[in-house]
Symmetry: C2
Subunit: 441 residues, 2 copies
Amino acid sequence: MSRPQPLSGFPELLPRQRIVELQVVDHLRRAFELHGFANLQTRAVEPMDQLLRKGETSKEVYVLRRLQADDRDTSDAELGLHFDLTVPFARYVLENAGKLNFPFRRYQIQPVWRGERPQSGRYREFWQADIDIIDQGELPAHYEVEVALVVADALRDLPIPAVRMHVNNRKLSQGFYQGLGIADTEEALRIIDKLDKIGADAVAKLLIDTVDATPEQAEACLKLASISAADTSFVDEIRALGVTDPLLEEGLNELAAVVDAAAKAAPGFVVADMKIARGLDYYTGTVYEVFIEGQEHLGSICSGGRYDELASDGKHTYPGVGLSIGVSRLLVPLLQSGALDATREVPTCVLVALANDDDRAAATGLAQRLRGRGIPTQVSPSAAKFGKQIKFADKRGIPFVLFVNDEGTQIKDIRSGDQVTIDVDAWNPPAEDLHPTIVTA
Amino acid sequence: MSRPQPLSGFPELLPRQRIVELQVVDHLRRAFELHGFANLQTRAVEPMDQLLRKGETSKEVYVLRRLQADDRDTSDAELGLHFDLTVPFARYVLENAGKLNFPFRRYQIQPVWRGERPQSGRYREFWQADIDIIDQGELPAHYEVEVALVVADALRDLPIPAVRMHVNNRKLSQGFYQGLGIADTEEALRIIDKLDKIGADAVAKLLIDTVDATPEQAEACLKLASISAADTSFVDEIRALGVTDPLLEEGLNELAAVVDAAAKAAPGFVVADMKIARGLDYYTGTVYEVFIEGQEHLGSICSGGRYDELASDGKHTYPGVGLSIGVSRLLVPLLQSGALDATREVPTCVLVALANDDDRAAATGLAQRLRGRGIPTQVSPSAAKFGKQIKFADKRGIPFVLFVNDEGTQIKDIRSGDQVTIDVDAWNPPAEDLHPTIVTA
């Protein structure tokens, strides 16, 4: 077999990079669980009819076929790989509604697949970390505040560049367009969503051509989109535009509540930004996008919103609000550029050296005593020269080598060269050496 | 949308079941890392030519197709979902050999997919937890002992029925058949592998019909297969059969070393069992199967072996030894039968009750102080009657409800009804209540 080549769009990590990713994922898990979110794992596949309900993503689905599929086996519905974690979650909620307690809060950290052409920053397989709160019948608006604060907690203390959450509210934008007299407010939203990509002039032209806006209406839409504020001052700025509408009023109140609560609980994290639209039409309230500050052009690393109609079984509807962190999108570039690294490439803290190969059973016993107290330990592969065993540890970043000599059991910090006699059942490494940690360039 | 139905062969768990699974997986992770295994995650897909290298599994592969695949896009190799974690690992090692340090030890916990007909205990999507140690050129035999001890540690203290590892050695069996005068020793192994399924008479007949064994040779093969021992006494028993062969001798020594070391380090866990053959022909040394004691007929919940030729890039070969724990195969039946359950269905330890809806910001502040000290906390969905808020906690198994009244901040253990005034910044729940734990029926 010749040397295999990487598959474009399917990033894989080296062991030391994976240590970083795993620690970040553990940090997210911990944050979500501290807020009472239960973990779920849904299967990788969904029936194609579920996946194709949202037309715009259908082009990205990977369809599955059993290599030895049997034509007589009619039980096989056509299956595809999920392209997000929201569609599977909505299906899971409907399927298990009788066994779940609502409001139901869950997190899910899994890969998703999109069969699109790979390009920079886009992957065909990538990991997402989603949280959602879903209720039966009605979902109180305070959850739209809460999920923003959960994500603020989850992203805090991560070794990533400064990020900021931009929020808007669908009711606010659509109410404003409605108050202006634009009929197709959903299409207007989709056009405004393109502002960063195509610029103000092209957006104005599209509004005029597509939703029959007058030049004055188009200008008002652009004015609205230009408003942003880290506090509730945006409310007066929008009112000063002179448009009135009950839906706009509702949106203003809801967005003000989110911004106000976030400004108190997570100062500086949330900014109201009227150009945030979110392309997907199932959002009905607050919408969120998190950007790396100063790198907004790279796209969001986390996004979501409130949805009222995503899941319904005829008897009940299940409104919800959720956010999805793009784990791969956030981390893979930082790992590949070397901006993030781990202090070592193995969990091992201590290598037990061997004076001769007959000592392996005794060395294994010593290693097991350290493991029993939570210290990751492995035994040297062979009784090579001591210098070679030190080199084995050094290459992997293992900080300590333990060995037995005439003076007893000794441990050497191979970075400093310090060597001390220890009691195996009492010695502990410095806390920062017990496990690998993340270092930033 | 009507209520979706489960997909046969794709088991999904309810939140409380998932809590159990996640804790078991965390336990495995911790055990593997204590032994110095680094985590890897490989992509879900492999090129079809990689997946089809092992002919016997090809019928089980799920092939992928992009829904909107473009005929002009010739860059797309045909891809399939991996059916185990060994093939992707071998490919990963070859692809990244220049960036890895050998011997390389890694663990991998991921789903695999097999498009076979679903039947009891067989899934189309299921989770495996694999460990392997792989070297460049030569792999010392002591790793065949070590991986057995790692798995003993990993399975110890899990809330599962008693399990036992049955080990054999390919050299031992093949050397024995060779010494007997049977030419096609690999086919003889595959026939012996069927012993539990088809019985001794059918095996004898197959040996006679397929590999030209005499009735006496077939009887000797069955005698060998009947030998098992928890210590090295099997060596003399086999020698007493009067067959001699250098390969048999090698196998006897290697298996004795594994059994001897395991008997000392993990008494009672390992038994030498000469009928263990393992169907896959890439194994070349020790082979392992772990069974639930008394339920051997259900098949193994963990298996593996040593392989010498799985990965080679022409310049180097990469011999290895590994074991794969069938996480879904082990847990899903125990979860579905109710033999395993969690003490609650949410991570939440404390619910902060609301006296009225205006208190939400203050309640969120209290919750955040508890979270800051690692106590999973959520705020009540509404200022309903206190009894209703207690019921909200009770339904989910949340043990504590916190509330503020004239006497200060109080906490109620809703199981006992005990209610005490606390300092929010000092109170801690009993250690066993901080996180959900696993209960066995």
